[in-house]
């Protein structure tokens, strides 16, 4: 298993090759990409940034948990930082396992945990010239007052 926070273009097929094993009956490849429309606004690109040392340790912990829970050491993840254009990959997750259900389960576990707890942020650039930090916790109000923890 391996995880990395990188600042270069991701190569999904390289990660897929990295998890290949004669003992595996299934390989999964997840590629997260920058999409054109978010919440009805036209997106031109995204800046990804991180609290890098903690992002590295949290991502490594997530991968170790997935390997333990689903029973495969063949889990590899890379997350890219910097300015990404439409269609570019921000994250690649490759898993292989003897059985497909476990391969898919491990992959889903990794992406959901990354979104929940790895300290990485994205600021979208919109067609109207504005830029905004994406806040997945924001439902209806435009933020909450600065006080206490959630």
């Amino acid at each position: 298993m391996r995880s990395a926070i990188v600042d270069h273009v991701l190569d999904p097929t390289a990660l897929l090759a990295e998890v290949a094993s004669a003992d595996s009956g299934a390989s999964t490849l997840f590629v997260g990409t920058v999409r054109r429309v978010n919440d009805g606004r036209e997106v031109l690109g995204i800046d990804y940034s991180a609290y890098t040392p903690m992002a590295e340790s949290e991502l490594a912990a997530v991968v170790a948990e997935a390997a333990e829970r689903f029973g495969t050491a063949h889990v590899v993840v890379e997350h890219r930082l910097g300015t990404l254009a439409l269609g570019e990959a921000s994250i690649v997750i490759a898993v292989s396992h003897a059985r497909r259900a476990s391969a898919m389960g491990a992959q889903k576990y990794v992406i959901e945990q990354v979104k929940a707890r790895v300290p990485i942020w994205k600021r979208e650039h919109y067609a109207d010239g504005t830029r905004e930090w994406v806040d997945p916790t924001r439902a209806t109000p435009a933020g909450t007052p600065v006080a206490g923890l959630p």
Binding site: P53, M54, V118, I120, P136, V146, G148, P150
Partner: protein, 78 residues
């Protein structure tokens, strides 16, 4: 004691990427948040998590001068 706090994303925009807080000995994570809120001057920011020495911490977690305290706004990786 002087505590260095790292900030990211919207919180870094508001306060800068690093602030020094002068807190009483025995302070906790909640005291760090209260101190920052006092400087917020009415600005609205998303409720953050806090990490101490690169691990998520609770409001009651103690903070020492040598700790690396980080304000973690809602994460959006992937």
């Amino acid at each position: 004691m002087a505590v260095t706090v790292l900030l990211f994303a919207s919180w870094a925009d508001a306060f800068g990427p690093r602030v020094e807080l002068d807190l009483p000995a025995g302070s906790r994570v909640q005291d760090v948040l209260d101190s920052l809120a006092a400087r917020a001057a009415g600005r609205t920011l998303p409720a953050p998590m806090v990490a101490v020495n690169q691990r998520y911490a609770r409001p009651e977690t103690p903070v020492a001068a040598s700790d690396e305290v980080a304000i973690i706004p809602p994460v959006a990786g992937g």
